[in-house]
Symmetry: C2
Subunit: 463 residues, 2 copies
């Protein structure tokens, strides 16, 4: 008989109640007395376990009582309702067999473990309640992103991971090479001879797929990227990883307002999708990780996001009756304390801040008519601060070239990016969502290392 | 008025016919006489263009006639049916305005270009018919993969790209480093001092997420990875890229037969999804790229895949009335010519070949009782040969340790992989699908460089 999945039993109980079923899964807990015993089984399909009752009438009753935590078993029995009990039903076993045992030194015995400890057993931690919930939500969120964009006709573009250009200019990069480190080839002039490297030039790991996504938006109109990106920054914080996933939509025939509409729709869609498809997980997070989680997510879903300019934000902050660690003045970069004040204290909902000073933003952002600010937008959300950052892109060739010069960037490196402005370079816009930051927001988990299956951070690339 | 997308006009024509609509897009072709003219507009939402008719009654009639190919325009007009004409409808323009011009040296003028040439303008080629179709199919195929697995409750796992282990052992790897190539640090013993590198150890780009996926399958039961993988092989063929995407499901409480069932269901699902969602593109490929495409895809959808053992395959090949370039004997690796003979000439449908000699397969594949073969499976399809490769994994600790020894692999490097066998390491299986190879199969495109937006191959990492 085909095994029934525990998720199916929870979701379609009436189909199985009082029927004989077979399940298979791993033992989470087990206790027994002389006459009967209970095993909590998790089969991986669902956050919750199912309780299995076994009685001494089973021929291998004594052995079953000795099955260790984490052992894999197959259970045949009847699903019976248990009104009034903690769990709505249980399986009265007629047969239990061992599929694979587990050594007694299993590191995930039923007791509290710190997240720090669980990071050292990243190959086993998805079997714990908290991480089981985290990584299922991560999977559902990824799917929600694809679903949102695909249903709107967006084309998914896989932009390159290995990049031969340093156009992206967003911080330190990892070099990719097959050169022999014992014998780095040199040119006659005494420089490293990257001609001899695998790609015949210096190559690095990408920090963003945006520039390539722009090329595709000017062909397909609406596109998105979703893939790994990298930062070789030596910062050991709870919010930085060296390898993380990023999602970047890019839309043509669109301006900054269209961009904000899209980000707002997307965020609401994702939250709704996860709340609908992982209600048990969200309930768990709300109970054990962050008691404000549900309030916060509901607030986002039910709000019209506020839109203010950077200049307005600075005015609000200057008038605020609040001591900030970092001083506020027109031209300053907003710090998390400022962002949280605006979204949590002033507007109490998500806030788009737009039109930042050009000097604190990237070269590709569209210059406003005031010649001082650019058409950028950051989405600030209560509890976190910045969640999304984006802009309308500079589509005017002369303005873009001037910006490159101002920022001492080499025009030749941008030949194809400039080409896009030469041939039907219509107005377009886009933004980036750090995928892990979104997962942290959706789960209340506060360390990025705990939302990445096998995290990479300075001095750490285990597994 | 909100712009209507051309896809929507084709799919919901009755909604717009005889109505005033506004579209925006790029000029693909333009021709005009003294009294009227025609513009083919593509807005990126759809494979096909829409024809716009403009007449001299428009105040900027003369300018419109001079708009260059690739210019972005906005068109207001009435959608009228054109029974008997090549296209089912056209827009009679009441207003056409220029959004963004295009220089006259636009490299994608309407004429035949070789795929080789188009690779040099990878930032513009998605605007050509062929590549517009290829990369839309790529996007839809990616979505079909997510949809297939998510609807079956599989958990999507992002396995790491940067790997600190060389356990994967599948060929040459790219090194990832932040060391200064002008000054590689050395230990006192004269070795490279990877302690000083970013991660405190030697790191490379992943060649497969399988081992990590196994860890997750033993928590979630059914999981899949889908992300970039890398090979630093210096092979310049039409079928090899240095960076490509791979999809790897892994299922627990499952054996080789379950694995084959899954692969067969998945492949049929993907082909059906793409044929339903990109009929115009598939028709185009069938007409201009590969006249056997539709026959082949329909054959796959409508066949029950054949299953034979490697030993049976060798017997068939030995008896074959066919001159092969590579000799066939028990123990040989099957070459593409052998694979194609079996799937195209003998069975005329997809064929799973199972139970290969252990010596030509990886250490993690489950040893069969004959002690000579392992529970591996390759899926061979007409027109291509191998499309999917997988196996049941060795779950028995003692057998796995023996295999590691036999293959001179260091057990300590596999501590966590062995742990998985120690704690509820139930039978499990999985396979890998090279995403680009699937796209080549779905489109008939014969060079892998033409199904990757910005391909990376030896000596080439442009854009």
């Amino acid at each position: 008989m085909k095994n029934v999945l525990i998720k199916d039993i929870y979701r379609n109980t009436e189909k199985y109640i009082d029927k004989t079923i077979t399940i298979s899964g791993w033992i989470r807990t087990s206790r027994s007395s002389k006459a009967f015993g209970f095993i909590e089984v998790n089969d991986g399909s669902f956050f919750k376990n199912i309780q299995v009752v076994f009685e001494e009438s089973l021929e291998n009753f004594k052995e079953i009582g000795k099955f260790t935590i984490a052992s894999a078993i197959v259970v045949e029995g009847t699903l019976v309702a248990t009104p009034g009990a903690k769990q709505p039903f249980e399986i009265k076993a007629t047969k239990i067999s061992l599929e694979a045992g587990a050594d007694r030194d299993y590191p995930l015995q039923k007791k509290r473990h710190t997240f720090e400890y669980l990071r050292t057993i990243a190959h086993l931690r998805p079997r714990s309640n908290a991480f089981s919930a985290v990584f299922r939500v991560r999977s559902l969120t990824a799917y929600a992103i694809h679903k949102f964009f695909q249903e709107r006709g967006f084309v998914y573009v896989n932009t390159p991971i290995i990049t031969g250009s340093d156009c992206e200019g967003a911080g330190e990069m990892f070099r990719v090479s097959t050169l022999d480190f014992n014998n780095i080839p040199m040119t006659e002039e005494g420089n490293i001879d990257f001609n001899k490297d695998f790609f015949g030039k210096e190559t690095n790991l990408t920090v963003s797929g945006q520039l390539e996504a722009e090329a595709y938006a000017l062909a397909y109109r609406n596109v998105y990227t979703f893939g790994p990106t990298f930062r070789a920054e030596n910062s050991n914080t709870a919010r930085h990883a060296s390898e993380f996933w990023m999602m970047e939509p890019e839309i043509a025939f669109a301006d900054l307002n269209d961009n904000m509409d899209l980000a707002e729709d997307m965020l609401k869609f994702i939250i709704n999708f996860v709340m609908e498809n992982a209600p048990e997980e969200i309930e768990f997070f709300n109970k054990f990780i962050d008691k404000e989680l549900l309030n916060r997510l509901n607030n986002v879903i039910n709000s019209d996001f506020k839109r203010i300019t950077y200049t307005e934000a600075v005015e609000i902050l200057e008038k605020a009756n609040e001591k900030f660690q970092y001083p506020v003045y027109w031209g300053c970069d907003l710090q998390t304390e400022h962002e949280r004040y605006i979204t949590e204290k002033v507007f109490k909902r998500p806030v788009f801040v737009t039109d930042y000073p050009k000097d604190i933003k990237a070269f590709y952002m569209r210059m406003n008519d005031d010649n001082k600010t650019v058409a950028a937008m950051d989405l600030l959300v209560p509890g976190v601060g910045e969640l999304v950052g984006g802009s309308q892109r500079e589509e005017r060739m002369d303005v873009l070239e001037k910006r490159l010069e101002e920022m001492n960037l080499n025009k030749d490196d941008y030949w194809w990016y400039l080409d896009l402005r030469r041939y039907g370079g219509v107005k377009h816009a886009g933004y980036g969502l750090g995928f892990e930051r979104a997962i942290m927001y959706l789960t209340g988990i506060s360390n990025i290392r705990d939302v990445i299956p096998f995290p990479r951070t300075p001095k750490s690339a285990e597994f």
